[in-house]
Amino acid sequence: MNIVKNIRKGLFRIFKEEEAKVHTLRYLFWECTLRCNLSCIHCGSDCKRESDVPDMPMPNFLRVLDEINSQPHELITVVITGGEPLMRNDLELCGKEIRKRGFRWSIVTNGLLYSQERQQALLNAGMGALTLSFDGLYHTHTWLRSHKASWEAALHAMQLAVRVPRIAFDVVTCVNKKNFSELEAIYNILLENGVKAWRLFTIAPIGRAKGNEDLHLSGQELHMLMHFIADKKRIGNMNVNFSCEGYVSEYEENVRDGFFFCRAGIHIGSVLVNGDIAACPNIDHNFAQGNIYHDHFMDVWNNRYETFRNRKLLKTGICEHCKEFSFCQGNGMHLREAGNPDVLHCHHQLLNQS
């Protein structure tokens, strides 16, 4: 069994290398605003502090799509993120213009502004996918999201979204010390409400989460989380997955629908609110590869992103002599800091400590 898994792992490694060479853009984040109606303890973008930053005007982003338009783009999903994208009153207008250009689009939301009317308007504008944050039972969710109405709003948003088969919908949960014991209860709430896909991620030591011990799991807790996800996957009532965030050695393939693959800069690009051209928005902004106000997006996509595509450049610090490097490739790019040879967080190491 292990031999088969190892052969598959080896083939997947070659597959990743080939994908990095071809680097077809499939997923484009648009950080359309930094305004947010919550002030989450773990937020990587530190939205509240930066809420004075103006939203990116729609025409500026559409110009980027027109630059990408010369290539096949029917399968590219524009993931509109923030901040909270529903804070933008012109979100539906933006969405419709994106869809008219042949791109698909989706949003990530905390649900506070999600209503029946808003859902109708988003659907009419061609929204095809939605991700909702739901972080625990009432007290834990409201603690993490720092807002009393946030839990009920998220539950209501969930109940609205599950009713629409058109939307590829999933729920995400930031697993931390406080909601760890509630995972089974959260699972039951999702199941009762008809949610079909649930993605769990741990909180990286970046942004506001840095230094808050309540947010980070111990090695033993991470093991337990892996077992929890693997069990639920086996049962099959819901498509439960560990997020793409990191390499989890012996649990690879048991907790996701595939092996670990950080696709940042390989299939994933982004346009940040200040115009920076980057990959996932949670990546250190010093890794930005260009800016839409000076560069042509496709020139940047086709010719830069070297660190993202040649992962040997991340074989530094503790990764340098790591036996797992060929599979892990220095972990998720959001766990790297420009100029720092060490990875900020190694799931494999954490699992092996306990």
């Binding site: 792992k9 990530v108 009419n124 061609g126 996918a129 991700t131 590829a168 595939g258 092996f259």
Partner: protein, 130 residues
Amino acid sequence: MKNLYFNIRKSFVRKLLGFFSISSVLFVFQACYGTPQDMANDVLIEGTVKNKADNSPIPGLKVDVITTSQSTFTDSNGTFSLYAPYNDTFSIKFTDSDGSANGLFKTLDTTTANQTHVLNLNVLIEPSVK
């Protein structure tokens, strides 16, 4: 020609590698803070609604796409547009929802066959005499 052959072979080899190593999730993925990828089919339903009597645009008319339980309203130019999940036929209803504000009109029920991703409708509606 040689390049084309090379590209096709390369893409085939990539797919084969992916298939043997991860089966069904070759290209369906999501980043931690992202969403699932949208792979569904949809149709842009758009058009203009005019007064049959004088060909003037009718604003504020409710457009119900019964097939998909969606609705919208015509704008000041009598135009409307919305995306709906792909269907071979659409049952659409036009209703005067604002009373006499923009004139009074009869309700119109239509069923339209569709084979494309853009369904363009130009609709004429009779005024209603009350």
